[in-house]
């Protein structure tokens, strides 16, 4: 056992704690599940399950207006649902942070995941979202930390794409 399984989601959770991110909304994805579980066990973090990813944009902005920092977790397929909602943090200069688990890129076996997977970075950039990317487990913590600071220091919208290569085919074997 002894700490051999050092999950990179722990590194994201640490960033949440360090930066006082106390609200986490999501439409679940297997890639985010360990992080969602960590947040649900934490009494200082409110976890909100959404019915569509775009509602996480509004929720996050309302929470920030009220003085709380949050993050939206979603799969790449959810990014397309958020496009018009992203006008809200943009025009109000509200910091917005989303972590996106990628599908449709590395060894994908479901063809339906490919169109939005290919479109994800383009769509985000088209909406003026600063896009960071983590391809390796070792860089997740520093990337999410940098992205979150970028968002909250510059009042911009920021996404971190968590690569399918890193999340791994293993995640989907049992599915």
């Amino acid at each position: 056992m002894e700490g051999a399984i050092k999950d990179w989601r722990n590194d994201i959770y640490k960033v949440f704690k360090e930066l006082d991110i106390t609200m986490v909304s999501h439409v679940p994805d297997a890639g985010h599940t360990p992080l969602i579980n960590l947040c649900e066990k934490d009494n200082e973090i409110d976890v909100v399950t959404l019915t569509t990813e775009q509602d996480g944009v509004g929720l996050s902005c309302g929470a920030f207006a009220g003085g709380r920092k949050s993050a939206l977790l979603m799969q790449s397929s959810g990014v397309g649902n958020c496009i018009n909602a992203l006008a809200l943090p943009n025009i109000c200069r509200i910091p917005f942070l989303t972590l996106v688990s990628m599908r449709g890129e590395w060894g994908e076996f479901v063809p339906w995941q490919v169109p939005m997977g290919l479109g994800t970075p383009k769509v985000l950039e088209a909406m003026d979202v600063k896009v960071f990317r983590a391809d390796y487990k070792e860089e997740v913590g520093s990337t999410v930390d940098a992205a979150a600071r970028f968002a909250f220091n510059t009042n911009r919208s920021v996404a971190v794409l968590l690569s399918q290569k890193m999340i791994g085919a293993k995640q989907f074997k049992n599915g």
């Binding site: 509004g58 309302g62 929470a63 207006a65 003085g67 709380r68 909602a85 809200l88 109000c92 200069r93």
Partner: protein, 189 residues
């Protein structure tokens, strides 16, 4: 049928200091602004469908305040799922008032689903917001005030109102960053 603008103005005129008001895009924002400029208001002018989730986030972050959202049937219908989210992550301090004129008045009064078979009170109840009711008359003002300030939320009130265009009343600024910063200056973080 309620005449929406005087009804909204009456609520605003008698507002208590612990109230923060948000409005969904279009007519709801012009209604809100018609009550006079107030930093404790925030009106959407776009991002259709986002007013309910925004109000939920605000209510969660400011549990000691009462949060009132005025929005339209069109805005509400765009994000019906957000009603389920509100019901399942309940906040006691949120009242959603849907100014239901059964039409997209801003674009030429095309009928919405509530002009047909859809009933937002039943949608809210079915989604799990038990404190949901419909008002059709100015006489229901007192009941609504009690809901806004005293009752345990979340509440969703459908206010059936006349489908007629009202004069545009713009906010202090169309720049969202100005609006949100003025609004946030009234909040303790």
């Amino acid at each position: 049928m309620i005449e929406r603008r005087p009804f909204v103005q009456k609520i605003l005129k008698n507002r208590q200091s612990n109230l923060r008001v948000v409005s969904g895009l279009g007519t709801s924002t012009w209604d809100l602004m018609s009550g006079g400029d107030d930093k404790a208001n925030f009106g959407f002018i776009g991002a259709m469908g986002q007013a309910i989730p925004f109000a939920l986030g605000l209510a969660m972050a400011q549990p000691d305040l009462r949060i009132l959202l005025f929005t339209g049937d069109g805005d509400t219908l765009m994000s019906l799922g957000s009603i389920a989210t509100v019901a399942n992550h309940p906040v006691t301090n949120l009242t959603i008032v849907v100014m239901d004129n059964e039409s997209y008045v801003e674009t030429g009064s095309q009928p919405t689903a509530t002009a047909g078979k859809t009933n937002l009170e039943i949608v809210a109840k079915g989604s799990g917001i038990s404190n949901s009711y419909t008002i059709k008359n100015e006489k229901d003002y007192d009941r609504l005030i009690k809901t806004i300030y005293e009752e345990k939320g979340p509440s969703l009130v459908v206010a059936k109102c006349q489908a007629k265009a009202t004069p545009l009343v713009f906010p202090h600024s169309f720049d969202g960053s100005v609006s949100i910063n003025r609004f946030m200056s009234t909040l303790k973080s």
